[in-house]
Amino acid sequence: MRREVPLIITILVGTVLIISVFIPPLESLGESFTLFFDIIAVFAFFLGGGNLVRVHVLKLAKKKRDWPFSIVTLVGFGVMLAAGLFKIGNPGDIAASVTAEGSLFNMIYRNVFVPLGSTMYALLAFFVASASYRAFRAKNREATILLVAAFIILLGSTPFGAWLTIWMPESMSILEIPNLAVWIMSSPNMAGQRAIMIGIGLGVVSMSLRLILGIERSYLGEDGA
């Protein structure tokens, strides 16, 4: 009962959806099912939010390390939730968009959420540098290939790339760094991408099949198969 029902559900739903692709009257099934997800996901939000609050309240109660910061989280969570659910400061009535200009929700979003997010994203500029310093070293053949490819592309995206090989004759122009960079991007790079894509495509297909056939059950909390 505990194990079988979920498996049956998976098999049933999966098969129906595969068939639906070939049966025009059932084509819209996929969309409505994906709409069902969003609804289930909203219920899941309660789980998530509940868990978040629980974790931080426990941290507070047990006075764990950095407990004062849990207050920040809880306050931020509470305020944003209130602002969103009760549409505080939203122009117009209850039908107005929750992210409407001038609402508290929108204000917090633009002045807290966005700067935090985009700065976090911008840290990548630094990490890209430190990563290439650490990792692009000619340890072995593979690493060397990686290094050389990256090096040419990097050089190719600066004006220096062009100056370094300006002396090359037209008949060798493919070897000029900018062209070489272009060629690498459009030829070997393309090939590698495609190989991975085909692999992933098949992997997904076969994994889906395993799920539908009930072979793969890890998602039900069973180890391996």
């Binding site: 969003d38 969103g84 807290v112 840290l123 590698g192």
Partner: protein, 269 residues
Amino acid sequence: MKNLKWFVLAAVCILFAVSWFAKASGGDGVDNSVLDAFLVTLAAFLTLAIMSFLYQDNPYYKFAEHLFVGVSAAYWMCLGFWSTVVGNLFPRISEGLSNFFLVPYQPGPLNFFFAIPIILGILLLMRLSPKGGWLSRWPLAFIVGTTAGLNFVRYLRSDFVKQISSTFVPLVVDWQGFGHFFSNISLTAGGPLVMMLTNLVIFIGVFCGIVYFFFSKEHTGVFGKASRVGIWILMITFGASFGYTVMGRISLLVGRLTFLFTDWLGIIG
């Protein structure tokens, strides 16, 4: 050393206040309202707080991080509620609710289907109860089953079938006989030789790449050599894409600094 922490805190607070005041009083030439001044200063403060992480973990980063977590969690919950529950669910299940939220009621013969996600959603919440936790697997099974079904066909369609057809490239381009070929042989970018080379590399690359992803055959002999070439191709791919992405990442930083220099300090632009 103990009270250095407090000095820093004080300094930060003073700077914050100064910036707020300066922005509000139009110290930077632009005259903002007190609220805007506060918001800009806040945004700038949070930006710097996150960047301070680069030096080391510190209370200001912790503050920003915890605030971010709380706010963002609530943000998505609210969007989910308004767009999905109010936008998609209520109009289909209850006339009263849709009237309350002023969304158009959409009666339809198939609406009873919407009981499914509700029931499954409730089952999902069952895991909060010590006994019925196992029931929460049913909605999961539904979700997984659906995506499996969708993916199975979609990937066979797009990735698999399409990729095969797009690998049909003739290796030889506008062939006009050996004489012509060797008489003006050159490495000009976009010249015939390079074109052929490109197609050849793509074909061999895809071939060896796929060979590398064979799991059920030992990579020895010719097979092993092919898969080795495959790895090299992959390494070129990874190196190239890495190098290629750098530019985009730098732009992000430029964006943030422009915010600091222009909107906050007002020293450029």
